[in-house]
Amino acid sequence: MLRTIGARLVDAVPTVLLVLSLVFVALRLLPGDPALVALGEYATQDQLALFRRQMGLDLPLWQQYFAFLRNMLMLDFGTSLVNQTPVIQLIRENLPYTIELTLVATGMGLVFGIPLGVVAAVNRNRWQDRGARIFSLVGYAIPDFYLGALLLIVFALNLGWFPINGGGTGFWDRMYHVFLPALTLAMVKTAFIGRLTRTSMLEVLGRDYVRTARAKGAREPRVIYRHGLRNALLPVTTGLGLSLLATLSGSVAIELVFNRPGIGEVLISAIAKRDYPVIQAGVVVFAFFVVAVNLLVDLAYAVVDPRIRVKA
């Protein structure tokens, strides 16, 4: 097992370097002078020159590249151009809110989605299944920020049950603040997980061992949950990684809707203010997340499926 983990970690190294290189290319080589983009069209030549020197943009490209790699790997993101705070501090303050939102939303999505999928599969082609299908179709189509805005208008603004902004302090207050944003993302996720569970359940319920269980005289709930669901959950756990990243990207818009602190909010406002070091840090943090989640998914495969462990 340790060897598997080690091998995957070694595998991730070139991926991290490749991702960082792409970020470097995107931020430095694509059209436009970064200094001009950061400071705006009305900056004077002196300001532009000062900015270039501060950011190391006057160095040869290969030196910039290695300096960039070193800084990013050491998590040295520089200071914000807007208020001179170290970028790492901004991230440290905001990242927990994003992680909290993503995890709570994923948990809620599992809690709603798995039973939905089971009910739909067990009652295939009956009204429960049709209802679940319509729910999933709408869930795939509705933009999360629209759903969030509707929930905000109804439950926070008109009914006053929930706060309209902020992240909260202390555990219960934070849970209170995260509820509506997480519910928004969870509803979209429920559509996805419900669909996944249904497909997987239908396949498992057609297997021989389920028929054997029934033939033995096992009661229906036991057949469905012990023999069916436990086996059906395998593809669901593997689909979870991708869906975790989808929720993470959805959190960007949701943070904006609910005026919540978070990495997405930091990145988007940095783009609006052209706060170059913060943009760079935000992009790198998201990229690290993608690499980390994929690594975890790979490891989860190895834990869940012994065949992969042996091969590695």
Partner: protein, 292 residues
């Protein structure tokens, strides 16, 4: 055999027509409805200047944040602009992105995929590695990250959406090319001494076109959604030009004014994306009955 002489000489039914018949039959009212919604969307988008009751950019400070009325069916926004007219022009915006981004992505992605699949070796390893890496990112996240570097504006959004979709097309095109490459007719073409580009253009491309076309239709919906998300985040279509995304963004900043722009624009996105998804699924089933 002689009892059915006409069968052998009758022209084979046009496959395109058959697909259309399978697609739009009364047995599938959902698909029919979706097709109608898509048609309505396209008509509204194309005829926007003639249908819209007002200029979508005309401001009137005498009528701001108005609720729906007989003059303004969906009310007005914080600048007194007619919400319905903005939605109608927003449809035009969505249609442009919905058609252009998947088309460009299909062209570039298919090219990359075919090159990787046909030539193999080092080129294939480089392209595949890059595709795998990009596929690890959800499209929205990738789009946000590229937009962070590029900023908004029409061509940048086109570029961002296309890049977000390229890896998917490249993967499908590569897999299909690998399968086609094994076919005897490719071997025959090589043996006949045809030039490589002729083989690719005449024999490979036509045979991998079906999955690529299906993917394109499925991604029209994704492109519309993605553009709306980016515009909502303020890194897509730049105001004052109306996009369904930035209409919601503006209205959310003015949430105590009128909720109607949010309700209207969000409803429009949901219904159009839903219709394209249903139609795309039906098209996939019709083109490829095995996987249905």
């Amino acid at each position: 055999m002689s009892a059915l002489p006409d069968e052998s000489i009758a022209p084979a039914p046009d496959p395109g027509f058959q697909i259309l018949r399978r697609l739009i039959s009364m047995e599938q009212p959902g698909t029919l409805l979706a097709a109608l919604v898509v048609c309505a969307f396209v008509v509204v988008a194309v005829l926007a200047p003639w249908i819209a009751p007002y200029d979508p950019l005309a401001q009137s400070y005498l009528r701001i944040n108005a609720y729906p009325s007989s003059q303004h069916w969906l009310g007005t926004d914080q600048f007194g602009r007619d919400v319905l007219s903005r939605l109608i022009f927003g449809a035009r915006n969505s249609l442009i992105f919905g058609l252009m981004a998947p088309t460009i992505a299909a062209i570039v992605g298919t090219t990359l995929g075919v090159i990787a699949g046909y030539f193999g070796g080092f080129i294939d390893r480089v392209i595949s590695r890059l595709i795998d890496l990009l596929l690890a990112f959800p499209e929205l996240l990738l789009a946000i990250m590229i937009s962070a570097a590029l900023g908004g504006g029409f061509w940048n959004v086109i570029l961002v959406l296309s890049i977000a979709f390229i890896p998917g097309f490249a993967r499908v095109a590569r897999a299909s090319t690998l399968a086609v490459r094994q076919e005897p007719y490719i071997e025959a073409s090589v043996a006949a001494g045809l030039r490589t580009h002729t083989i690719i253009l005449r024999h490979v491309l036509p045979n991998i076109s079906a999955p690529v076309v299906v993917l394109m239709t499925l991604w029209v919906a994704s492109a519309i959604r993605l553009e709306a998300s980016l515009s909502f985040l303020g890194i897509g279509t730049r105001p004052p030009a109306p996009s369904w995304g930035n209409i919601i963004r503006d209205a959310l900043g003015n949430i105590f004014g009128s909720p109607w722009p949010i309700i209207g624009a969000g409803f429009a996105i949901t219904v159009v994306v839903l219709a394209f998804n249903v139609l795309g699924d039906a098209l996939r089933d019709a083109l490829d009955p095995d996987t249905a």
